[in-house]
Symmetry: C2
Subunit: 270 residues, 2 copies
C-alpha cells in the first residue's frame, strides 16, 4: 500500500533530522543527552510528525521546511511518554519492548530528560516557525491540553469505579487528541493557509486523535473497552474516521495522504 511507503520515507527524513539536531551524547552533561537520545531513538512509528508533514503537503507545501516543526512535535510526544512512565504516574518499567527511561537511567534523570525535550522543542520552534505556531503548540500541550488529559487519567486510575464516558472523552480529546490536533494544525499555520483550511485540519486532527485512542483501547483492552463491548468501540472508531476524512474535502486531491493515514490508524483496530 502506497501510504505505508510514504510513511516509511517520511519517518526516515524525520529520524535523520532528529539525530542531526539533538545534542550529541558527548555534549556536557553527557548523561542527560544520553537519556534524551535513549528516549527518542529508535522511537515508534513517528505518526504525529508524519501527520505534520502530510498536512503541510496537503496545504501545498513542498520540501523539508516543515521538518523541524514535525521534529518538535515528536520531542513533545517523547517527553510526555518519559514523564507518564514514571513510578509516580503510570509506573511503566517498559516502553516499546525495552526499559523505560527512568529504569535505564534513574527517576531524577528521566524527569530532567523530559524537561529538556520539552524545552528543546520550543527552541527548535523558535528557530524555524512563527510565534503563532509556538502559541498554538503551547496551548495544546499545557494544563488545559495534553497535561490536563494526563491529570484526569491519573485521577481516574485512582478511582475505585469504572470511568464514565464523559471522563474517558475528556482524557481522549486532551491527553491524545490535543497533540494530534496541533500536529496537523501547526503545519497549516506554518504554511500560512487561510482560516478555513486551518479549521479543517484542526477538526481532522481531533477526530483521528480520538480514533487513535479508541484503537489503543481496543488493542490494550482497557479504557472504552471497559464500558462498551469491542464491536461498539470499533464502530465508534470507524465513524470518527469518516468524520475526520469529511473535513479533508477542502484540500481536494491533496488531502489523499491524510485520508490514507486516517484509514491506516483505523486498520489497527481490526
Amino acid at each position: 500500500m502506497a501510504i505505508r511507503k510514504y510513511i516509511t520515507k517520511k519517518k526516515r527524513v524525520i529520524d535523520r533530522a532528529l539525530n542531526m539536531y539533538l545534542p550529541s551524547s558527548k555534549t556536557r552533561p553527557q548523561i542527560i543527552h544520553k537519556a534524551m537520545r535513549y528516549a527518542v531513538f529508535p522511537g515508534g512509528k513517528r505518526i504525529r510528525p508524519v501527520l505534520s508533514v502530510a498536512a503541510f503537503e496537503a496545504c501545498g507545501g513542498k520540501g523539508n521546511s516543515i521538518i523541524p516543526v514535525a521534529c518538535a512535535i515528536e520531542l513533545i510526544h517523547t517527553y510526555t511518554l518519559v514523564h507518564d512512565d514514571l513510578p509516580c504516574m503510570d509506573n511503566d518499567d517498559y516502553r516499546r519492548g525495552r526499559l523505560s527511561c527512568h529504569k535505564k537511567f534513574n527517576e531524577g534523570l528521566a524527569v530532567l530528560a523530559g524537561d529538556s525535550l520539552l524545552t528543546l522543542a520550543f527552541q527548535w520552534l523558535s528557530e524555524t516557525a512563527g510565534k503563532d505556531v509556538i502559541n498554538e503548540v503551547s496551548k495544546a500541550i499545557g494544563s488545559c491540553g495534553t497535561v490536563g488529559g494526563q491529570v484526569e487519567d491519573t485521577l481516574n486510575q485512582k478511582r475505585k469505579r469504572a470511568a464514565k464516558k464523559r471522563e474517558l472523552d475528556y482524557i481522549a480529546t486532551h491527553k491524545t487528541g490535543s497533540l494530534f490536533e496541533v500536529a496537523v494544525k501547526a503545519a497549516g499555520i506554518f504554511k500560512g493557509v487561510g482560516k478555513k483550511k486551518i479549521k479543517a485540519l484542526a477538526n481532522f486532527g481531533r477526530y483521528i486523535g480520538f480514533t487513535f485512542q479508541l484503537v489503543d483501547d481496543l488493542v490494550d483492552g482497557d479504557g472504552y473497552v471497559g464500558i462498551y463491548d469491542a464491536g461498539r468501540v470499533r464502530k465508534m472508531a470507524a465513524l470518527l474516521t469518516e468524520r475526520a476524512k469529511a473535513h479533508l474535502d477542502v484540500f481536494g486531491k491533496k488531502g489523499k495522504r491524510l485520508a490514507d493515514i486516517a484509514d491506516l490508524i483505523l486498520q489497527r483496530a481490526r
Copy 2:
C-alpha cells in the same frame, strides 16, 4: 533604602499579573491549577522577574509591557523548584516554610504542575515577546543550561568526595546563573537595544547569578563553603558583584537600579 521600595513595588505588579494570567483554580482539571498556583503563591522575593523589569528600564523601557516576560521567567524558576524538590532529586519536603508541591499534592501532580508551568511560560512569551526572546530563554533553561546544572548537581550529591571547584563553577553558572543571565538579557532583547547593551546585560546577569549562588552557599553552609572558608567565599562574592556592576557603565545613570539590586544580593552574605 530606595531599592527595597522599588523591589516591593515591582513585586506587587508581578504578583498581580501572575494572579491575573494563571488559570483560575476553578479551571478544569482543578487539581492541576491548584497545584500550579500553590507553587507560584506566595512565592519568594521574585528577584529574577524584578531584574527583568529593572533591565528593561535600564534600556530605556517604560510602562508594563515587560511584565509578561518577567512573569514567564518566574514561572520557569517555579517549575525548576517544583521538579528539584521531588524525592527523586533533592527530596525536599519543605519550601519557603511550608510543604513542597509534591508533599501538598502528590509526586505525579508535582511533575505535571512543573511541566505545565514551563509550557505556560512559553505560551506567555509567544503572546507578548518576539521569537528571539523565546529562543534565548529556551537555550538558557535546557539541557545545556539550567537543567544541565541540575544534572551535574545531582551527580555531585551522589559522589562520595567533596565537589571540586570546576564542578561547583559549572553548577553555579548553569543551574543558577543561566536563568539570571537570561532574565536580564531577554529584557534587553525585548526592548530592542543594540548588541553592546545585550552583551553587557548578559555579563551582568551571569556575574550576579554566580554571586547569588555563593551567597546561598554562605547562608546554607554548603557548596563552595565546603571547599573554601567563608571569608574567602565572601570575598569572591564581593569581587563578582564589582565585576557585574562594571558592565553597567554602558547604561549610565539608568543602570543604577540594577547596580543596587546587585549590592542587595551581596548584602545577604554579611
